[in-house]
Symmetry: C2
Subunit: 509 residues, 2 copies
Amino acid sequence: MEATGRPWPNGETPLIGREHTTLGIIRRPPTVAKGAVVDVVSTLGDWYADSGPLYQRLAGAVRRAVADGRLQPGTLLPAERRLAERLSIGRSTVIRAYDLLRDEAVLESRRGSGTWVAGAEPGDGGVRHDGLQRVAPSIGDDVVDLATASLPAPAELAAALRALGDGPLGDALLRPGYSHAGVAELREAIAAQFTADGLPTVPREILITTGAQQAMDLIVRHFTSRGDAVVMEDPSSAGALDLLSEAGCVVHTAPSVASGGAEPITEVLRRRAPQLVYLQVPLGPEGTMARGGDVVTLARRLPEEAIVVEDASLRDLAFDRDPPPYLAARAPADRVLTVGSMSKVYWGGLRVGWIRGAEKIIERLARTKARADLGTPVLSQHVSAWMLRRRDGVLAARLDQIRTSRDALAAALTELLPDFAWTPPDGGLTIWALMPHGTSEPFAELAHAHGVLVATGESLSPSGRNSDRLRLSYAPPPEVIREGVIRLARAWADFDRRTRTAAMKGPAP
Amino acid sequence: MEATGRPWPNGETPLIGREHTTLGIIRRPPTVAKGAVVDVVSTLGDWYADSGPLYQRLAGAVRRAVADGRLQPGTLLPAERRLAERLSIGRSTVIRAYDLLRDEAVLESRRGSGTWVAGAEPGDGGVRHDGLQRVAPSIGDDVVDLATASLPAPAELAAALRALGDGPLGDALLRPGYSHAGVAELREAIAAQFTADGLPTVPREILITTGAQQAMDLIVRHFTSRGDAVVMEDPSSAGALDLLSEAGCVVHTAPSVASGGAEPITEVLRRRAPQLVYLQVPLGPEGTMARGGDVVTLARRLPEEAIVVEDASLRDLAFDRDPPPYLAARAPADRVLTVGSMSKVYWGGLRVGWIRGAEKIIERLARTKARADLGTPVLSQHVSAWMLRRRDGVLAARLDQIRTSRDALAAALTELLPDFAWTPPDGGLTIWALMPHGTSEPFAELAHAHGVLVATGESLSPSGRNSDRLRLSYAPPPEVIREGVIRLARAWADFDRRTRTAAMKGPAP
């Protein structure tokens, strides 16, 4: 379909109707991939409505879902206790249903690997937190994406390409093209930016990475081992959560610095003595900005033995007031690694991020980076350097654009989903919203069926504590946002009706 | 200094005198980095010339090297046996020297970690094969690089940027920019290239990576665990060797398919039952092309349980005859992963590579890729797609250019280093040369001091079996190559004299 609504101020057109991959790995097929952890509850449909003993109704619904391909071989099912909770039935009912299906060879189980649909082993070694895939599972041809918090490229980018093709890149083209730590111009531009923002930095303290995601990957890869303790905020970054889960780290959580202040997380740091601490400061998924006093207090109390990651990717998107000082500006020089990215203000497609840290740590990470890919593509680095030299202009235009979109999402939520609770954000690209009731994963599945993607609290929460929240992006243009909220409101009416009906039919046997 | 000599045909200027980073991690400082495995022998200088008991002379030389910073705290020393062999002295002499230095706290030892210069722990967890750093340790302002086998960008690249800035990229700029498996246009272009080359392929069988190095990293990360058996050719890729060493795999070697045919490696595969097999076909570091019959035989005998990586990065650089069929074209569809790259024919700075494999494996690797960096920068991908659509023209010009450079290196070697033995290559960018005597690592250090970088056989050999070989790149322009060989000949005269002198002074006590 063709996109509707007025275009972006600089001539861009909205995203509706364009086929594009997003923060999901690749376009998810209509069925569920082998090895994926799926929301079986929504897959089962109206299983309760059948007749017969409850365990047979449940077994029948799973059997049908397997038979018609909604549940694929290798798909992991929830543990008995969890499914029972989700369905508001007794655990013994689930156990009997699973037993029956194992006898029929519809399901298979193995200690430590859980229960899965027979016919294939669960892929990828079993259950993992895979927030990357959950944040934005797929994009259809007519789906509004309120999950991916990424802007299109600014108009300057095409200009940068033309300009680079004509000259400034010429010298680089004569070199072999390998730059493990990053091209000099970009390291200089980023060091200058940190210095201007109150954190004196030289280029040798900067490692260029393929986005903030690779920055975190290199850090996890270099500094953690299986079983290491890690402390992160809850909610946090889906990408970081994925990496730490994959690496086998034991994740301990604390309320975010922005919402909880310095005390609660300081207490967790003291008790857990982590190898790694990952903080999204000053802005995290909740969209609220940490206070300067809390950052300063926390900087003083950081554990001496830990590597502390300060993910400041969203810092430049503070709307209304200046952000607090960098954590690294107030902590001992070799304790904090500061991560940044071109993705939020500039463009995700550049895939350029960086790590700032003590020179000796940057050298070690540069070696890990060389092993990973020999360096980030240099074209993207030169375009990034070109854009950073025009930072003030780009940033001012971006913030105007984002404020307009934030207002559009806020207005649509107030009008169309008045029961959702949310705090106006201090910056960033998302609103963190509390559902009136229910959990976000089944609601997000239903919303997807209604043509709108949202990120779930569960995909951003190491603890599952935020399963009653949604993260809504206002990166799309205002008209697309409004269409998305209209669909979300329809989905909510549907969800609300279904859950009330299920509640009336009554709980477990 | 200014570059001399005539420029490349398309207006490029030679590399002499330009400061640029290469396949070394970052510019290596004049001293040796903490944790590095260094060639202590060359660091010691003329230690034998001192007076006193031999172990005291040796200890004195190490003490001086530590005192004046040539050996930094944390630097790992060779094991006693190995140093004894290298110095042609008795092992007991080295043991006594090390003991003395430990008593003086100049050195420290720990079981399993070896012996290192006191004052810091060995970096990065101890001894590792770090061929990436050894292949091209650093580039000074007036060093000829015969180690890095990478061409400058073709003239088309700047044109691609201008063209993309003006149009074809426009649509992509409106998207968030994430493409975990790769942008559609590029996956299509690569699938079409494989199909045209006799290996029918669809885009879903292609995963775009940040160069062949990341392709191998994702494969190692996804498919191997510590202690897994791996089979690779000897010599092989420094980058792959690094990754396998880092991952804790047990590497078994076989003569390359190109030089040894199918039988020896088949025998090793049968005996070792590896989890992973890494083959550089049809062209490896030796520069000779595998025969079609051997590829077909090997394809039939690949182990059923193993993931087989066919690294075909150099395939397009076959000079004189058509390469043999792809291994994947003759093996069962889900057994072989074929790796390719833009770096050799086009430009290393693009950092674009790919993995071709069964769709279900590509899906799993795409997930690993998403975790690693959310996708390769899309600008580089669009430039790559643009260039691949002009493949025939670019390739023809490249092969002409490379043949000229190969002839220049061959002529210079014949004239200036007649005692070096080598086989004219069938393709690729390097000549694999046998030294008349001595080992390549100390010679390479000396050559560096004479202003020329070469890759050592040891950096490319899992077994150390090729320590009497050098790999010489003819990627630079002809004049630079000649200057490099002149310097190499001077270094050889020096090396030859030194080793003869040492031999005359006589061996162990």
